[in-house]
């Protein structure tokens, strides 16, 4: 039984100065279901609130209209007031007499008073259709999943673990470390990448709160914030890591060699291998594509003609602990998590589309990442930079920027952000190592925007690198050397530079499988398959999918400090989430009346938060069902639903229609 009380606030003279409060009180008292109408100097003051609480008790009010300022200002205040009087806090509606009336119609007291009365009538009609709402409490699993073991994921995992929560870190490669592990030195400080990274990798391996799953990938994600259920595929490594001690005999003795992925194919590794000496975990995996025993098995299985290759099995024979397990299969683990951080990073742009640059054709045209491996003291060449074509030290080295970046036609539209700086780094280091080297850089713009970056770029120039503004139109081979032809747009003339090596500053691209992962996580991604954050400025590590956070370069090009910072930021968000006993959901969310749902499922397609699932009822009908933990209450589904099955609590069709109708009563 609706017994509505209306409390009209003077707000000092803010409202009372323009609106005839007496008339408003009188009119409100006449409205249907209103059993009490009163005015108040300041509704929001403690005495004002006390009057409201008393009136609720005295008049047995079941619903309350506060006619005062904007609900954006004080709705929460008054919800608490009515709750203190024993009413459900959602049985409150505000009429905005100040911002929307007295302050903007101070020139017409009569009109303002009329409007004030109508605003109250609308609120009364609406509040009569309010329902008691109850925030729901959902328990949560205080365990985080970090997808991607690069520097960003490592940082996030460590920060969460250090906050006292369990973390599972999933990495699809056999080791964590990511791209940063491949780098030689880092700009602008030139400290050794692995020197600063490997201790963190070890921390991950040793942290009691972190479970590390390498050679593993996320397959399926169900559930929602606080209650995700994730299926993770642990790929068969053919080595029982529980037994393996990482002694290294196997990979030293393995007779089969294959190009090393970690070294960008510049070096070799054995078929049973760890990607690099400091790999974490320091335990090998068998590359079944190259393993001799597996080649033998395949030969037999496929019933091929001729003599089968030998069954090598050297590793098995030599392993002191019997860790080789030929029977090992891919395994699916299903685990519960409360939050997920995506830190899947990037892959370097493949420059083959730039046919005129001859990457893949001219051996001395290499990518920036290949240069990193070449320069690295622990790399295949021991840090000795030589021309792949003849093993000689190069004298003239040309760098080309924006390969795959800022290029709508063949690459990506965005700037990859790090290329300018790593080229500067290469130029500086080359000059340091080989004083007779001459570096040339073809550039579009030099972007050196972070702390100490501009200085670093200057240092490269001062080291003797010649920066030429312009694009390169082609590279040809001539007398065992390369000739780089391009335009110097500052001089406005074509230039040709003979070079011993050309380094392509390839940009960053989404890592493979990003779109599939985003779909599994119900997170949006853009045309470049980069993850979209909930808000580019204010919510940079959150996504529109609650409980899923993003860190590092999976969102867009980022350098190491930014990746680390976003990893920490995401971890902080997770820690904040986990600091709650329960997740409290806002009750002003959508709902679907299953009896009225016709099952067109358009709502599931438009929901920006993927908060609507489908459900098959006992009568065989498929209907939409709202996941209240994900719904943000925008109401798009309500306007989309022709059936009138979807409704939005707090802004129901009935409530809004009542507001409209009340204007003509």
């Amino acid at each position: 039984m609706a017994r509505i009380g209306v409390f009209i606030c003077h707000c000092g003279t803010n409202i009372a100065g323009t609106v005839d409060i007496g008339r408003v009180v009188e009119a409100a008292g006449q409205m249907p279901m209103v059993v009490h109408a009163a005015d108040n100097k300041y509704n929001c003051s403690e005495p004002g609130q006390a009057l409201i609480r008393d009136a609720i008790a005295e008049h047995r009010l079941s619903r309350v209209v506060i006619a005062a300022c904007s609900p954006r200002m004080h709705e929460n205040t008054f919800r608490k007031t009515v709750a203190a009087a024993g009413l459900n806090p959602y049985l409150l509606e505000m009429a905005n007499l100040r911002e929307h009336c007295s302050w903007v119609h101070s020139d017409g007291k009569e009109a303002a008073t009329t409007k004030a009365i109508e605003l109250i009538r609308m609120a009364v009609s609406k509040v009569a259709r309010h329902e008691k709402l109850f925030p729901k409490q959902v328990s949560l699993t205080k365990r985080a999943l970090v997808i991607g073991g690069g520097i960003s994921g490592i940082q996030a995992a460590l920060d969460i673990a250090n906050s006292g929560y369990k973390v599972v870190l999933v990495e699809r490669e056999p080791t964590i470390g990511g791209r940063m592990a491949q780098l030689d030195k880092t700009f602008p400080t030139l400290d050794c990448s692995s020197c600063i990274l490997t201790p963190k990798m070890v921390d991950v391996a040793q942290h009691a709160n972190i479970t590390l799953l390498t050679s593993a990938e996320v397959k399926e994600v169900k559930g929602f914030v606080g209650n995700f259920e994730v299926s993770i595929v642990q790929k068969a490594r053919k080595v029982d890591h529980a037994k393996c001690t990482g002694c290294g005999i196997c990979w030293q003795k393995c007779p089969e060699k294959a190009p090393s992925e970690f070294d960008m194919g510049l070096g070799k590794r054995s078929a049973i291998y760890i990607p690099f000496p400091q790999a974490v975990p320091p335990k090998p995996v068998i590359d079944t594509a190259n393993c001799r025993y597996h080649k033998h098995l395949r030969f037999v299985e496929e019933k091929r003609e001729g003599k089968p290759p030998p069954q090598c099995r050297v590793c098995e024979k030599l392993c002191p602990v019997g860790a080789i397990d030929w029977e090992q299969k891919d395994e699916v683990l299903t685990e519960k998590f409360g939050a997920i951080i995506v830190a899947t990073g990037y892959k370097a742009f493949e420059p083959a589309v730039y046919a005129e640059l001859g990457y893949g054709k001219h051996p001395d045209v290499i990518t920036g990442l290949e240069m990193e491996r070449m320069m690295s003291a622990s790399g295949p060449a021991g840090g000795d930079v030589t021309r792949p074509s003849n093993g000689e030290h190069p004298r003239d080295v040309v760098f080309l920027t924006c390969i795959g970046s800022r290029d709508e036609q063949r690459g990506r539209t965005y700037c990859s952000k790090v290329c300018c700086m790593y080229i500067a780094k290469h130029a500086i280091i080359l000059k340091e190592h080989y004083p007779d080297v001459q570096c040339y850089v073809f550039y579009m713009d030099v972007r050196a925007v972070s702390k100490d970056y501009e200085e670093f770029y200057k240092r490269a120039q001062e080291s003797g690198a010649i920066y030429i503004r312009g694009k390169v139109s082609g590279i040809r081979q001539e007398d065992g050397r390369l000739v780089v032809r391009g335009e110097d747009t500052l001089l406005g003339e074509m230039v040709e530079i003979p070079a011993d090596m050309v380094v392509l500053a390839v940009g960053m691209e989404h890592s493979p499988g990003s779109a599939e992962l985003a779909q599994a996580l119900k997170v949006s991604y853009d045309i470049n398959e980069l993850f979209i954050e909930a808000h580019p400025k204010l919510r940079p590590v959150e996504t529109m999918s609650d409980g899923v956070f993003v860190a590092g370069a999976c969102v867009g090009p980022r350098d190491i400090p930014e990746s680390v910072a976003s990893g920490s930021a995401a971890a902080a968000k997770v820690a904040a989430l986990f600091s709650q006993e329960f997740l409290t959901t806002d009750p002003m969310v959508a709902s679907v009346d299953q009896m009225k749902c016709g099952g067109c499922l358009l709502c599931t397609k438009v929901c920006p938060f993927k908060a609507i699932d489908t459900q098959v009822l006992r009568d065989g009908r498929t209907v939409a069902v709202v996941n209240e933990s994900l719904c943000k209450g925008c109401g798009l589904c309500v306007a989309t639903c022709r059936f009138g099955a979807a409704n939005l609590r707090g802004f129901t069709q009935q409530q809004l229609l009542a507001e409209v109708t009340s204007l003509w009563q």
Partner: protein, 143 residues
């Protein structure tokens, strides 16, 4: 046309931008005609065209729908959907004889108090010059 015609406008404002923009007009004391009656909705995407049609049936002279600027939606994309919905409803109502100028879709951000006031003023003026809507009688005499 009667000079003292006071059009009745129903305004559906999204909570995060346009309602806040209207609040801003208040805070800045920017006066505008008092003809609008505001209904707060979380997002312009919440507004079922039925509500607009119903407002016109009941006798509204004008209906204003206001939301965040495209790209600024609090829910990231709601207003793109409302833009489509009302882009289609707009010429349809005109086709049914509800003149252009009686339904308006506007993007008003939380900082655009002045714009909100301007929108209401110009909308009201436009409706005054259009005059009262010749209402379809709800009663309806027998044929």
């Amino acid at each position: 046309m009667a000079i003292d015609f006071e059009p009745r406008i129903v305004g559906f404002l999204c909570n995060w931008c346009s309602y806040a923009g209207a609040d801003m007009a208040g805070t800045a004391r920017i006066c505008y005609p008092s003809n609008i009656r505001v209904i707060r909705v979380p997002c312009s995407a919440r507004i079922d065209p039925l509500l607009v049609v119903k407002a016109f049936q009941l006798g509204a002279d004008g209906v204003l729908v206001a939301g965040c600027h495209p790209g600024d939606c609090h829910y990231t994309e709601g207003n793109y959907y409302s833009r489509r919905r009302f882009a289609l409803l707009y010429p349809f109502l005109e086709y049914l004889g509800i003149e252009k100028g009686r339904l308006r879709l506007e993007w008003v951000s939380a900082s655009e108090g002045r714009k909100f006031s301007h929108v209401v003023s110009s909308f009201t003026e436009g409706l005054v010059s259009l005059g009262p809507r010749e209402k379809v009688p709800a009663e309806g005499a027998l044929p």
